[in-house]
């Protein structure tokens, strides 16, 4: 039963990861090919792409936190303030954008933030020459817009599981709503928050489209550097080193994060489907 899956994992996952690791220690041929060798040159050259790493490692966490701040109240609202018969519909409405083409949804923002969009409207009220597109702000808007559903769903699940009787007991004992929120709801939803943040952060690390469309070459991520290295300048060994470093940085951050979270809570699996 496992044979086809094993074959696929072997040829399409394990082999490519091994090859990319080998390439990252290789040398570049003058015509853009690969010369087998064992050198750390590619890795030593990484600072040349420092800006891409810096942008990714600042905007990805900032985007994740904004998505959390915006998404948490929505999840809270859905769990505690919406009638049961409406919950399902409202939840589907959050899932649908997540599964529809990210290409098209990001493209929509070129429209909205472009010079004929919001800046054009703002000119009527006297704010002129406002530039929104090709800024970090535009990239952050795109990030929050694209990944909000992925943040809301795990938090929703963990809040939904929360035993409502705890809240009643606490209220009976005289706790205010605010106290309930701080002392019961937030601590019990930490697994959901952790899962949401991790999912969003991981996907953001490899982001290419949002900076490509909304950052316009001014705000770019490691993903954009990779596209440039592989498809334009055809420097495969260097590109491989950049890709490997990205994965390694990601693994380090995720494992530190998991250790931190696991020490406080039991991990739970959350379905994003």
């Amino acid at each position: 039963m496992l044979f086809p899956a094993s074959f696929w994992f072997g040829v399409m996952l394990i082999l490519p990861l091994i090859v990319i690791t080998i390439f990252s220690f290789g040398e570049r041929a003058p015509n853009g090919g690969y010369i087998p060798s064992f050198t750390f040159d590619q890795y030593l050259n990484l600072p040349a792409r420092f800006v891409a790493f810096k942008n990714t490692l600042t905007l990805a966490p900032i985007g994740t936190i904004i998505a959390l701040i915006i998404g948490y109240p929505l999840a809270y609202y859905l769990v505690f303030k919406v009638a049961d018969n409406k919950k399902n519909l409202l939840l589907i409405l959050i899932i649908i954008p997540f599964w529809t083409s990210i290409l098209i949804r990001t493209y929509a923002w070129i429209f909205i933030l472009g010079s004929k969009g919001i800046p054009n409207l703002l000119e009527y009220v006297g704010i002129e020459n406002l530039r929104l597109i090709n800024t970090s702000f535009a990239v952050l808007v795109g990030i929050v817009y694209s990944y909000l559903p992925l943040m809301v769903l795990p938090i929703y699940v963990s809040l939904e599981k929360l035993d409502k009787r705890l809240l009643e007991a606490s209220s009976d004992l005289g706790a205010s709503n605010f106290k309930n929120f701080i002392n019961i709801i937030i601590p019990l939803s930490i697994p959901g928050i952790a899962t949401g943040c991790m999912l969003v952060f991981i996907l953001l690390m490899g982001e290419f489209l949002i900076p490509a469309f909304l950052g316009g070459g001014k705000v770019f991520f490691v993903g954009n550097a990779l596209v440039d290295l592989f498809l334009q300048s055809r420097n495969w060994p260097y590109g491989s080193a950049v890709a490997c470093s990205l994965v390694i940085i990601m693994l380090i951050i995720v494992s530190i994060y998991m250790k931190f979270i696991n020490s406080k809570n039991n991990r739970e699996e959350v379905s994003i489907i």
């Binding site: 496992l2 086809p4 399409m12 609202y77 529809t100 923002w109 909205i112 290419f208 990601m250």
Partner: protein
């Protein structure tokens, strides 16, 4: 609080609405609405590149969804009986293939397959019997697209089918065994019908993913063009009402698929609840 929620839903759907709205623009400039018109839609069908890209996407999505749901189901059943270190190994492969950024999968597949083909093509040319005609030249294209998409969607299918498998009523299988049902018969009459909604929703989600994927296809499509790659390069050239019309059609198509898969999942949950009682 309610106002806040409405604002977020507005935020989520406003950009989509804008695209749909401007696809009916009669004017030539994408962001300047001049009147209602359907003229961009018939024009799409006169564009051979677009039709070609659509066919490629459809083909790739269909084949990878079939492979992913079949292999994924098989693997989920196989893994269910597996324990110990091997199980952990397979589980981590599943999670790695879901978690690793699409862009890294794209790049790694690109260089691995190019290297592999460089090595295989001369080999194939040597052993190919002359009576079969010219030896095939392995190249990036359908095979690499389907291969890379199936990796991700197969892992997704494993996760979906497995969650259904865990919720399944074991008693029925035991009852079937007690009544002298052969393992094959038990599988066909008990396991498979119960898994069917999960398999179908795995199929639909796999199809949606593959049909919508841009970043992996961008690297491994070779000389082929998929629909998202086509849309990407058109956007690069400038925003036109034509793109809005394509986007509207793609959105409609994927939303219909998603609703279908969601209804199936709901049916699955419903029967789940029934069996737990």
């Amino acid at each position: 609080m309610r106002l806040y929620a409405y604002l977020i839903y507005f935020f989520l759907y406003f950009p989509i609405a804008i695209i749909v709205f401007f696809s009916f623009n009669s004017g030539k400039h994408a962001s300047d609405f001049q009147g209602f018109s359907l003229k961009w839609y018939p024009k799409l069908f006169d564009n051979p590149f677009l039709i070609d890209a659509f066919n490629t996407s459809l083909m790739v999505a269909l084949i990878s969804a079939i492979l992913a749901s079949t292999f994924g189901t098989m693997a989920a059943i196989g893994l269910n009986n597996l324990k110990g270190k091997l199980r952990v190994f397979y589980d981590s492969l599943v999670y790695i293939s879901v978690m690793i950024p699409g862009i890294v999968i794209g790049i790694a597949t690109l260089i691995a397959l190019v290297t592999l083909f460089k090595f295989l093509n001369p080999l194939l040319a040597n052993i190919w019997p002359t009576s079969f005609g010219k030896p095939p030249l392995l190249n990036l294209g359908y095979v690499s697209l389907i291969g890379a998409h199936t990796l991700f969607t197969m892992s997704l299918s494993i996760l979906i089918v497995r969650s259904r498998l865990n919720g399944m009523d074991r008693n029925l299988i035991e009852a079937s065994n007690d009544l002298y049902g052969t393992p094959v018969k038990t599988f066909l009459k008990i396991t498979l019908p119960q898994l069917f909604p999960a398999i179908l929703s795995a199929f639909l989600l796999s199809f949606t993913f593959s049909f919508d994927d841009f970043i992996i296809a961008f690297f491994v499509a070779g000389s082929e063009t998929t629909l998202p790659v086509y849309v990407f390069s058109s956007i690069r050239r400038g925003v036109t009402p034509e793109i809005n019309a394509i986007a509207t059609l793609i959105l409609t198509f994927t939303i219909l698929l998603l609703l279908a898969s969601h209804l199936l999942m709901k049916y699955k949950n419903y029967s789940n609840k029934g069996s737990k009682k």
